[in-house]
Every structure is written in structure tokens, then in C-alpha cells.
Amino acid sequence: MAEVHVIGQIVGGSGFPESSLFCKWKVQMGSAWRVLQGDQEGQTQVDDPSDEPMANWCHPIDLHFATKGLQGWPKFHLQVWHQDAYGRNELYSYGFCHIPVSPGYHELDCVTWRPKGTLIEELKTQFIGGSSQLKNPDLVSSSAELYKLRTVSMGKVHLRLHIIVRDFEKYGVEF
């Protein structure tokens, strides 16, 4: 079995309408993969920058996988939430990103979107916030069913990841 280490951080998010944000993240992978060490999911703190356009989380990611095959390489599922001045939480957007395959240092921007409603619903979102949510959040990575959605693009989540692989050359894998 080969092993993969993913060490890095979710740096922050930018390009969203409001900046008081937090991020829920989850790592999804195929059945051939197993997490040996590290948290597979988590939630960052709420960052409320006063004048900067980017919310900074610097949330650490430290994962150790063991795998039997290349299928189902791990991916990130992200949800960016907004907390307003009254303490209400609303879901801003969903995001998805493959964990890079080649070992080394990667700076990635994971883009996010949210489901778009009818005109009335969009007006409502403008005034009181809160858009419709996906019935199943895992739809984000199921490429066969996404065509049913209409979406609005939101902001980006910035990731910095170091990938370390082990024992893949023994099985003839080249990155």
C-alpha cells in the first residue's frame, strides 16, 4: 500500500459579498483509501475583517492516507458560511477541489457557487439573506447530476498544500 501526506492550510476566503465568514471542510475519497492520521473534516473559526477584503482562517490540514489504488483520489468539499452581526449563520456557497496529485507545494484557489432560485427568491436573498440549499451536499462532486442545477458564482477559498507521497514508485506509479 502506498501512503500520501497532505499538510497545509486553508488560508482564507475572498470575493464574497460580506466578509464575516467561516468555512466547513470535509475530505471525500474513494473506497480504496483510508485515513491513518488526521481529522477528516472540520470547521474554521469565524473571521470578521474590518477593512480587508479577505477573511483569514489559516486552518491547519494534516492528513495521512493509505491507499490500495489510484481510484478515488481524495477531494475537498467546502462550504462557506456567513455569520452576521446578529449571530445568524447562513450558507453562502459550496466549493469543490481535487487534492493535487503531484508531490510538492501547491497554492490553489477553490471556487465556490450557490444554488440560484427564481427571481422572487433572489430578491429575498438580497434583502434578508439565506439562499436555497442542496438536499444532499455531496452533489458537489457527483459529476453526473450537476446539470440539474442553476447556480450563482460566489467567491474563492485559498488553499496552500504540501503533498508527500510514499511507496508509489514501487507499484509503478509516476506523478
Partner: protein, 576 residues
């Protein structure tokens, strides 16, 4: 390491994981007199060493004997000239004369627990007729410790004031064990106590201190002590400061000096006397058996952890069949930029050239969601997709192909289309991307174009009611399928095909190759490297030449045998 002549009164740092209660230090204190007839301990020590060195010489031996009597004499003298030796354990309280008198006076209502305990100890000492000596200690919690401000002043300026940092760091006395798990709630402490403020904000480990002191005030001998009560300010000097941290660090200031020069301390009295002292490490060492057992235990624990992890990981891995290359592509359509209309989606499909195989259950094409532009970019119209796709393909060269012929890599075609709120459907662009022939991570931006048609009516129709010219065969975007199958010598000509440049797509690809021959090469490289290092090549070539010579000799011998056989075999008689 250090010069034995030098007297470095600096701190030494020791590290140990053994429990600190086993620590013992031996202190030898002696007053230095100027009387040369009574040899000092130091001089005796030097003579002792010399006599050991020169022990073979018979003449010197006699002198050594003489010096032994001198030693005894000197020791007797030293008893009088105030030689003192004690072995002190960690946080062991020895009383000074002053403390003996103060604490021994009695217990009152307002005495603290410490005072009561000291009083009891002193009573026990009185019972055993023990008197306090010159060497005493201050341990954790002794009130006089702070009164003498032993900890804070490092310079000799009379106005030395410890800073906030010094006060805080020195006063950290953490009692409980470290909280290893974070609390889930109540992360914010609204009203921290001053000690909590100190503990959480200063980066030191909890520590304990102990001082070994010498009481160098004048002694009043005998019975006169009872009669005359002259109040004397206690003349105390620090001999040694021992600080122990909870992570096993031990800081000793000054360091042990057995075998080196003695440390000298002068009293500030009228008759300025000089004392010198030695510090020795007096803990009982661990014996070899226990040490070996401990090391074995540690090694076993580490080994067990390693094997456990290796067991979980295991040894299996999916491998493709031999002589077949497996290609995995993990990619995503990230975003689209600067298309003419909003609410656009992307149709993608994978095109497989010859000799590429895939499982029938694999999905080769798909549609993204219909996305509307983000408001975060000011100058560009950007739509975000973050749409994943994953392909697993096998390449097997055809039987008639040349050796090491490079494979034709598959292509992914993209068609961008828009559908607005009035259901007008328009084509926004076509593009394609080659799957790269080297594995790795790729972040590509591909530009798109759309067909325009010859007359203006196409554009008008596209604008007003939607519907535009679409490609019948999406492979026209790269090299058309029809063209390929013709195999004629005419060049590909797209003359007359009008297009309009539209936006661009950002696509990320992760390309991974896997094959058994790569594994074999990897293994080969490693052994070849090792062989070269040991010069096995020369060895092998020698063997080869020997084998060659042997083969030659064998061949010649066989030839000779053949020829002799031919000579000896009777030929058919000429006459029948």
C-alpha cells in the same frame, strides 16, 4: 572540555527523564586559612593525586605514607577549621542557625502550615542533639527566599528592578497537569485570574527552585552564646542554585566542580574570611542491569508501534497487467471567463484514439451546472464551476506497432452554451485540451471560439430568439475524425469556416501514469546503482572473460576429438 584552571561560575544545563527525587548533590565547604603549616584540603587533594601518579617509586611511597598522617592531622584540623560536607537531596530542607532559632521559638495561632512543619522538624533535631551547620537550603515556598530577593536581581546596581516579564516568568507555579484536549465550549475566559494570565501567556515550563546557602556569620562558641544575644544580620551566601523544569531540564548554577578549582566566596565580615567549596554529583547511579532492561523496553515499544502501522498499511496495490500503461486523470473545470452571455454551462467529452481502452461503466462525458457570473471580479465576467471529472484509461500498443511507439494521448472536448431565463439557447464556444503526455499537475487556460456562419441573419437570429450554428461533429475542434480516416496527403484545410473568439475556460488536470515496467525500472535502477558502487561490473566482466576462454577451450577440444575420431574410425573397405 573546560580548563581546569578556569573557574567558570556559569550555569550548566542537564537533561534527564529520571524522577527528580533521586537527585543528590554533595557540598563540601571549608574555610581557607592562610596558615601554611596546616595544609588545606585543596593542597591535600593535589598531593593525593601526585602520590597516586608516582606510586611506583619506592622512595615516593614513603613520602606518601607520611602524607597520610599529615592527612589525618589535617582532617582533624579541618574539623576545627570548619570543614563541612553534606549530601542534599531535592527539596530537602536544612536549617540555618537563624532559621533554627526563629522557627524553633514556638508555634502561635497565626503560624502557617510551613512554620508548624518546621517547628516539628526542629524539635526532632533538638531531640537528636543535632545542630544546624553552615550549609543550609532554601526550598520552594520558603518565605525568606523572597525576602532576600535572591531571584530577581542580576546586576549589582542598587536600583535594579525586575521587569514585569521577570516577575511573571519566575512566578509560574503550575500545579495541575497540562490540559491535553481542548474544551469544546467556553473557549473564552472572561475573567482570568492573575495566575492564569501568567500561566497562559508566558512560554515557560513550570519549574521549581532550590538554593544551597552558606551561613558565614561569626560563630559564638560555647556557653557565651546563651548569655550574650547580639543581634547579627544573617550573612548568607548562595552556594548553588538548582532549578528543575517539568520537562526534565535541570539547571545548575554554578556547575559541579569536582576535579576543578574550588569556588571561592568571601564573607563581608570585619575579619574578611575566605571560604571555598566543591559541588559534586552525589546521586546513586543506575546499575548496568537496570539500564539494559530499560533500553530493551524502549526499543520494544518503538518496534511495536512501527509494526502496528506497517500492518495497517499493508502491501496490496492495484496494478495494471504487464506491458499495459494505465492513465488516471483527475480533473476539474474550474471556471469560465468573458463569455458573451450569462447562465452558461459546459458540455465535456473525452475522445479516445486507437489502442486506448476503458471500462464500459466509465462515464466519458457530462454537463456542468448552469452558472451565473460572480460579482467579485470587476473587469471580467467570471463564472465558477468547480466541476470534477475522473477518467481511468488503459493503453495497449497494437501488435503491429513499432517498438516504443509513443501513444496518441486522448483529448477532452468542451462546448460552452448558454440558456437564459427565456429559454433561449445559444452556443458560446468550443475548445479542446490534450491530456498531457507527462504526468503531473496542470492548470490550463483554454480559449474558445464559436462558429459564425456566412450571413448576418445567423447573428441576428442568435441575438433575438436564440439558436445558433452548432458543430455536427465535435471532433472538428481538433483534428476531425473524417480527416483522419481518409489518410490522404492533402493538408487539413478549414478555409471558409468563420468563427468568433469568445471567452476562455480554466481547467485543472492531475495526470498519473502507472505501469509494471515503471516499477521494474525503478527496482532495476536501485540495484544497478548499488552494483556500480561496489564495482560489480568489473567483477562480472572478469567472470565473463573466464567463461569465454573456457568456451573456446572446450570448442577446440571437441574439434580435436572429432578429428581424431575421424582418423581412427575404419573407413569402408575399398573392396567389398
Amino acid at each position: 572540555m573546560s580548563n581546569s584552571v578556569d573557574n567558570d561560575v556559569i550555569s550548566a544545563i542537564y537533561r534527564s527523564h529520571d524522577p527528580i527525587n533521586n537527585f543528590k548533590i554533595r557540598v563540601k565547604l571549608e574555610r581557607l586559612t592562610s596558615n601554611a603549616l596546616l595544609p588545606s584540603l585543596h593542597r591535600l587533594k593535589i598531593e593525593d593525586d601526585l602520590s597516586r601518579l608516582l606510586g611506583d617509586d619506592g622512595k615516593k611511597l614513603e613520602k606518601a605514607k607520611a602524607s597520610r598522617t599529615e592527612t589525618a592531622q589535617a582532617l582533624n584540623e579541618t574539623k576545627r577549621s570548619e570543614y563541612e560536607e553534606t549530601v542534599i537531596g531535592w527539596q530537602q530542607k536544612l536549617f540555618s542557625r537563624f532559621e533554627f532559632d526563629t522557627y524553633g521559638k514556638g508555634v502561635s495561632e497565626g503560624s502557617t502550615a510551613l512554620e508548624r512543619k518546621y517547628y516539628d522538624d526542629i524539635q526532632k533535631m533538638k531531640v537528636n542533639h543535632k545542630q544546624p551547620g553552615r550549609i543550609f537550603t532554601y526550598i520552594e515556598g520558603d518565605p525568606h527566599c523572597f525576602a532576600n530577593d535572591l531571584e530577581y536581581f542580576v546586576t549589582d546596581s542598587p536600583n535594579d528592578d525586575p521587569s514585569q516579564l521577570a516577575l511573571a516568568v519566575d512566578n509560574i507555579r503550575r500545579r495541575g497537569t497540562n490540559r491535553s484536549r481542548l474544551q469544546k465550549n467556553n473557549l473564552i475566559n472572561e475573567k482570568p485570574t492573575p495566575s492564569e494570565l501568567r500561566e497562559e501567556h508566558y512560554a515557560t515550563v513550570p519549574h521549581q527552585t532550590m538554593y544551597i546557602m552558606a551561613d558565614l556569620s561569626d560563630r559564638i562558641e560555647g556557653a557565651s552564646a546563651q548569655l550574650v544575644v547580639i543581634p547579627q544580620p544573617p550573612n548568607e551566601h548562595v552556594l548553588c542554585t538548582i532549578r528543575v523544569y517539568s520537562n526534565g531540564t535541570l539547571i545548575l548554577e554554578p556547575d559541579f566542580n569536582n576535579g576543578k578549582m574550588a569556588y571561592i566566596v568571601e564573607t563581608g565580615n570585619v575579619n574578611n574570611e575566605v571560604y571555598h567549596y566543591y559541588l559534586e554529583h552525589g546521586s546513586t547511579p543506575i546499575n548496568m542491569e537496570d539500564l539494559i532492561k530499560e533500553r530493551k523496553l524502549f526499543r520494544e515499544v518503538c518496534l511495536r508501534q512501527q509494526t502496528h502501522l506497517a500492518q495497517i498499511v499493508g502491501n496490496e496495490f492495484d496494478s495494471p497487467p504487464p506491458a499495459v500503461l494505465k492513465l488516471n486523470v483527475f480533473g476539474e473545470i474550474v471556471s469560465g471567463k468573458n463569455f458573451e452571455y450569462d447562465d452558461i454551462y459546459v458540455y465535456y467529452c473525452l475522445d479516445l484514439p486507437d489502442n486506448w481502452y476503458a471500462e464500459p461503466t466509465m462515464i466519458f462525458s457530462g454537463y456542468t451546472h448552469t452558472a451565473s457570473a460572480t460579482k467579485s471580479t470587476k473587469h471580467d465576467d467570471v463564472v465558477y464551476y468547480a466541476h470534477p471529472f475522473e477518467f481511468e484509461l488503459w493503453y495497449k500498443p497494437s501488435p503491429g506497432s513499432a517498438d516504443h511507439e509513443l501513444p496518441r494521448m486522448p483529448k477532452i472536448f468542451f462546448q460552452v452554451a448558454s440558456q437564459d431565463s427565456w429559454s433561449r439557447h445559444r452556443t458560446e464556444g468550443y475548445t479542446y485540451i490534450d491530456i498531457p503526455s507527462l504526468p503531473g499537475f496542470y492548470d490550463e487556460e483554454v480559449r474558445c471560439w464559436r462558429p459564425r456562419g456566412d450571413s448576418i441573419f445567423n447573428e441576428l437570429r442568435r441575438f433575438y430568439i436564440g439558436g445558433s450554428n452548432e458543430l455536427e461533429d465535435i471532433s472538428y475542434v481538433s483534428i476531425p475524425k473524417q480527416f483522419e480516416s481518409e489518410k490522404s496527403n492533402t493538408p487539413l484545410s478549414r478555409y471558409g469556416f468563420r468563427t468568433v473568439t469568445t471567452g476562455s475556460l480554466n481547467v485543472r488536470l492531475n495526470v498519473v501514469f502507472q505501469s509494471q515496467s515503471i516499477a521494474v525500472e525503478h527496482a532495476k535502477h536501485r540495484t544497478a546503482y548499488a552494483a556500480n558502487r561496489y564495482g560489480f561490473d568489473a567483477f562480472m566482466s572478469n567472470i565473463n572473460s573466464v567463461i569465454d576462454a573456457f568456451q573456446q577451450a572446450k570448442k577446440r577440444a571437441l574439434e580435436v576429438r572429432e578429428s581424431t575420431l575421424q582418423l581412427l574410425t575404419p573407413k569402408a573397405p575399398a573392396f567389398e
